[in-house]
């Protein structure tokens, strides 16, 4: 039984990071209806920038965490400004293909740096002892990761509920024409959506980097797993992204805990999300919390 609870604990840890990463994805989709295929690369870039600041420049890790988030914030904003601003009004299919191109460009840029081939790990700044809690033990890094995720998601929800900018972003996602007519700058909101997505992606990247080490393959795979998460949650629902993130984390942990090695299977955690994704697309395409506005064709 304690094995079960151990799996639940680590599932929640992984799942909350999925939730954070999925949040950024949903933000971009909600505001501009663009699927950002390059999300995994932004996650990786955020983690690598943070590491470069602390490991190579020598800035203390707490400070570099914030600096890394800020840099990724502006990086994502400039990506929107340079590449996507020109394509407003073009068919959505070509915008999505531009993000595929972006994914390839960022891949290439990351391979140019040592991060593409060498694995790094963040300096240890938390106690390395395990916290045992009724037979379940998790590390300090995981605990802090979950806490940071929870704080950030709460912060984002408050931001969208209370602040003027947040409310204008919600307005744009609801009706672009109407929000333009009451004086909201729609392109600026798109830029902000990308920037906040970059922020949450970088945070997710840093947390994974702290837990598993900085491996480009892992971070990239993590970024692609965000797709099943957001589809499960419904592409345009933040609550859905959080719930589906945790569900997906649990499914992955149970898969690797119970399926692997039992029926001659291995690595099921990598493939199960995609199988679930295909099944959801066939039977419940708007996900758990998505708006039912998807038209049947």
């Amino acid at each position: 039984m304690s094995y079960f609870f151990q799996l639940v604990a680590s599932g929640i840890v992984v799942g909350s990071i999925y939730a954070l990463a999925g949040l950024g994805f949903v933000l971009i989709y909600k505001s501009s209806k663009v699927l950002n295929i390059a999300h995994g690369q932004i996650i990786a870039a955020g983690a690598f920038i943070t590491y470069a600041l602390t490991g190579w420049v020598g800035i203390p890790i707490y400070l570099s965490f914030f600096l890394g988030l800020a840099i990724t914030f502006f990086l994502a904003m400039s990506v929107e400004r340079i590449f996507l601003r020109r394509l407003i009004g073009e068919p959505i299919i070509s915008v999505i293909m531009v993000t595929i191109g972006l994914m390839s460009i960022l891949d290439g840029l990351i391979f140019l740096t040592p991060f593409g081939s060498v694995n790094f790990s963040f300096p240890k700044f938390l106690p390395t002892t395990l916290i045992a809690f009724g037979g379940v033990s998790i590390s300090w890094t995981q605990l802090v990761g979950v806490l940071v995720t929870a704080i950030m998601i709460t912060g984002f929800s408050l931001f969208f509920k209370k602040s003027t900018v947040g409310i204008s972003m919600r307005a744009v996602s609801d009706d672009q024409m109407a929000s333009m007519s009451i004086g909201i700058s729609v392109p600026r909101v798109f830029g902000l959506a990308w920037a906040t997505a970059g922020l949450s992606a970088a945070a997710a990247g840093c947390i994974i980097g702290n837990i598993t080490g900085l491996n480009f393959e892992t971070l990239q795979a993590f970024g692609i797993t965000v797709f099943p998460v957001v589809i499960l949650g419904g592409l345009d629902s933040i609550l859905g992204a959080v719930a589906a993130g945790i569900i997906m984390g649990l499914i992955q942990q149970f898969a690797s805990g119970y399926l692997d090695g039992n029926f001659g299977l291995s690595g099921t955690a990598e493939v199960l999300p995609y199988i679930i994704l295909l099944i959801i697309l066939l039977f419940k395409p708007h996900g758990l919390f998505g708006i039912h506005e998807i038209e049947r064709v």
Partner: protein
């Protein structure tokens, strides 16, 4: 494709049949057949080294695959980020024959044209399965469905012992009427085979586009509700587009397996899928001759990048592989630049050049 000279100053067709012709004048037909003859004859006068022959064969195989991708992305307007997986399905169909009956069994070495066709049909079946969500969904979701198919495909091959966990599975040398195709003439032999396949595929697609089934595709792409009102089932049309794309991809995969005399998972990764997409975009989505320009352009770029990386690698003298960095970078840059500045691709340049030369020295 033939230039439509009649349309230069207005439309002079008197029947729909006239308008649907492939060749509009005898000159068009002559030029086209001369060009084809040239493609078949040049190896008798020049002999290229195996290295360059391999490059040309690769370009031709990519053309077959991109014709398929162009059907699904260009004509039907559905993004496919898993095209390399469909190519892989074709290649692994050949590989499973080799695993079951041995890589130099008579079926693999003598009846290979049939096997290539079988691989195409297996690809079509998988294409239809992946396209099934299209019955309910629009293109955004389909892009993710194809991406997940790519991931599932890679995982399955890496997992299964039957496929040697993605290690190279060897495929035997084939026989022709003149006997076994040896190492010397291997690439030349496959050049001819692939060329024939491309000519067949080209005519297939060209003819498809003037039938009801081909025009269905662009009707659904342009406005699926209007298409629905006209009695076309949009969902089934999309499934059928995926099946067609799967067929061409499967044929390309089988040719790849025979050309390399082996099948390994690294040729069918997500990066390859993006490379195919880049070829389709650069060539020009929704045009048939774009499917020929795109692979040629991207493969040449690929080759140049590789040489550049080799040269720069000596200068930098670092241990990292510069080519792995520069290749995705250049592909991505090409995709983005073309989509931003020339969304109609090289096919559009070709159109401009052609209309310019046709009217020269007059402006219009």
């Amino acid at each position: 494709m033939a230039t439509n000279r009649w349309l230069a100053t207005g439309n002079y067709f008197t029947s729909y049949k006239d308008e649907q012709r492939i060749y509009f004048t005898h000159l068009d037909r002559t030029i086209f057949s001369a060009f084809l003859t040239l493609l078949f004859v040049w190896p008798f006068f020049f002999s290229l080294s195996n290295k360059y022959m391999l490059v040309i064969d690769n370009i031709l195989i990519a053309m077959v695959a991109v014709i398929g991708l162009n059907i699904v992305t260009g004509f039907a307007g559905l993004i496919s980020i898993g095209h390399a997986a469909f190519v892989g399905i074709g290649a692994y169909t050949i590989a499973s024959f080799c695993r079951v009956i041995g890589d130099s069994h008579v079926i693999v070495t003598h009846v290979w044209p049939l096997l290539i066709l079988v691989a195409g049909f297996v690809g079509a079946i998988f294409g239809a399965i992946v396209g099934l969500p299209a019955m309910r969904l629009k293109h955004l979701y389909l892009a993710i469905a194809t991406l997940s198919f790519q991931m599932i495909f890679t995982w399955t091959i890496n997992f299964m012992n039957f496929f040697d966990q993605g290690q190279t599975i060897s495929v035997g040398r084939v026989f022709w009427f003149s006997g076994k195709v040896g190492r010397k003439e291997h690439y030349l032999f496959w050049y001819y085979v692939i060329l024939v396949v491309i000519v067949l595929c080209g005519f297939m697609v060209r003819n498809l586009l003037r039938t009801r089934y081909g025009r269905c595709l662009s009707a659904v792409r342009d406005n699926d509700r209007a298409a629905d009102a006209m009695g076309i089932h949009p969902g089934l049309t999309k499934v059928y587009a995926f099946a067609l794309a799967g067929f061409f991809a499967g044929v390309a995969g089988a040719l790849h397996a025979y050309l390399y005399r082996g099948v390994g998972i690294e040729s069918f990764s997500l990066h390859e899928s993006i490379a195919y997409l880049a070829m389709a975009i650069v060539g020009g989505l929704g045009t048939l001759n774009g499917s020929f320009w795109g692979p040629a352009a991207i493969m040449t770029l690929d080759l140049q990048v590789e040489t550049l990386a080799e040269k720069a690698g000596h200068l930098l003298s670092s241990n990292m592989n510069l080519a792995t960095a520069l290749k995705p970078f250049s592909f991505g840059l090409v995709i983005v630049l073309f989509l931003m500045f020339e969304p109609r691709g090289i096919a559009n340049w070709w159109r401009i050049v052609r209309s310019y030369t046709k009217l020269w020295p007059f402006r219009y």
